[in-house]
Symmetry: C2
Subunit: 409 residues, 2 copies
Amino acid sequence: MNQTPMGNRYHIAIFGKRNAGKSTLMNGLTKQEISVVSDVAGTTTDPVYKSMELLPVGPVVFIDTAGFDDIGELGALRIKKTRQVLRKTDFALVVLDAQEEPDRELFDFLKEIRLRSLPCLAVINKCDAAKPSAGLIKLLESEQISYITGSAYRPDFIGRIKEAVIQAASTVKEEPPLLEGVVRPGDLALLVTPIDSAAPKGRMILPQQQTIRAILDADAMMAVTKENRLKETLDSLAVKPSIVITDSQAFRQVSAQTPEDILLTSFSILFARQKGELKPMVKGALAADRLKAGDKVLIVEGCTHHRQSDDIGTVKIPRWLREKAGDGLEFAWASGTGFPEDLTGYAMIIHCGACMLNQREMRYRMQTAREQNVPMTNYGMLIAHVMGILPRALKPFREEIEDEIQEEE
Amino acid sequence: MNQTPMGNRYHIAIFGKRNAGKSTLMNGLTKQEISVVSDVAGTTTDPVYKSMELLPVGPVVFIDTAGFDDIGELGALRIKKTRQVLRKTDFALVVLDAQEEPDRELFDFLKEIRLRSLPCLAVINKCDAAKPSAGLIKLLESEQISYITGSAYRPDFIGRIKEAVIQAASTVKEEPPLLEGVVRPGDLALLVTPIDSAAPKGRMILPQQQTIRAILDADAMMAVTKENRLKETLDSLAVKPSIVITDSQAFRQVSAQTPEDILLTSFSILFARQKGELKPMVKGALAADRLKAGDKVLIVEGCTHHRQSDDIGTVKIPRWLREKAGDGLEFAWASGTGFPEDLTGYAMIIHCGACMLNQREMRYRMQTAREQNVPMTNYGMLIAHVMGILPRALKPFREEIEDEIQEEE
């Protein structure tokens, strides 16, 4: 049951040149485990992902990448994909051939690891055939990268690498609980979860599911309803819920029906807050007020999903923004693992809730936007803003983002 | 977002001899779709699964199998796995080489398809190189199997095959809604969802998730709580819930705390009922009363998961049954796709909730047990029975299974 969302998995990526032994290492790390639960095969250009439980770390995903010395046109594409992996990597395993001499490519790659302060282990492979080259050892030592020597075909070597990964992973700071300071033990929360046509058959979408779980983990209770039964649900409760959490798309209606003395926020605001992005996202949403004819807006989704006729990213958001800023607005879209490196020319970026992206990847995206001075927000924040209820939706976190709320009011 | 559970997907399996073009067909059917969401690579012996949305059918999984003419020891193992796939197949695509002459293997395979009344299409491949053999056409016509001729490398041929699959799938009777006749529009249900250590991090286990969704789909409302807050949750409701649905493991406590005038059942009873298995499963549970020293009990799980120290299948159930029938009981376990063909010697079979198996597979298993006169039940039903609350848990479905309840009372 491979049910842990990608965004919650610790990402361990395997880098190195072609034939350094990356795939052998990948197989060694994942195959011997009875707990390998899925095996997502790459196409010719895509990295290979294997999700598993790595105890005691928990859910991880190993990523096998194309060699960063790949050649030709296809090679260039593969290298680009490998660099995209780097953005979401929590731990890098750099596989080196014992006989390899350091060159510009390796040097540049290690430099990039260092610039990102990425936890890293160099795996010097094929040491049964030859001693590690002196140049390699010298480079690793000057870059202060720990290394380990052996052969990726030997289980004991695999075991030592796993130990190193486990040690690195266990020092990682966990994200704070989703509802920290918002829902306390014994509280009663009320969730409003519309079922729209994009929801997978027979299931709850990820953010709703994660919130339900977070409430139970907080030792609290909840009522759950679609938006059409909100009033009835409120009436059926003998105690007032401490907070109402709604899907952003039902914001206006839910806000109107929820008494003013009950706190109200949205799933996407909670998730942005958990990821430490609340403040910049609020600031980004306010940028919608400054949009004018000729401005170009970039809309980004972290996964590819079926477009619905009332699709939020391609239909609703453009409509709302045009209502605000007129018909002269232009829109561009990006989805999946793609995020433009050059954001020149965009007046603002509106990102989906990013349930399929991990925190490193989202930080990279926000960082890229910040460096290029392009305001960036997410769907939920933008919707709350265009519906005029951002101040109310942010009230539960007032102290955390004092300045932005004042600017808004 | 590959979130539709396997058990809810329409299973389309591709069968045929080695080199008939099965994988080419698989790729053709899945690759051209932007909606291919996962790609589970097989090992040397396992079939390959590709999940995707096949509109307008919905979520499907294509399964590429090993040739049923595979040879050698490994070949025999692969054929066995292929036959296991047959048990859960909703639609069979039989790929044939145009130049192939019918032989015993093909004849036997088609006979099996017919015995199972399995919807089926023969795909005569490689027709760009040769006309279909007369023997092949004759066999298909005598078996009344529709066929289609072309080349699996041609998109138009793939398109025609897809149409045929869509047409077959759209005539399939859907399972009744999970809560049919149990939860009505405007009802308030109460779910008790303990979070045990086996639950995936940050998520809800599948049956709970599906039940939450089913309640929303029924246009009803719900309260959700862990077992420790049940009393508080009941107190916080101004109206009485029409039904309490609990995880089987908390049955005794929940039954004690839920007023007698509120209906009570479990997630597993609901799912067994939806699959039309309630009656035989109840009967199977009652077989526990007849267990005695020397009897052998088979415990089956549909997936492999981490064993916990208080694991239900390996620890709790054996303990409960020994409390009933003494230390002389023997236990055997099966998990994953395995289910013994020969059940001789087992006094009863206890199956997990089977959220990862589809209905055809479960029917096959129950059928096998029935044919060999071995009573079969599931975890939830057994737990309710050993805790003495089966009559109460079945009360919501009293009319559907009158005889069994009377026998129990």
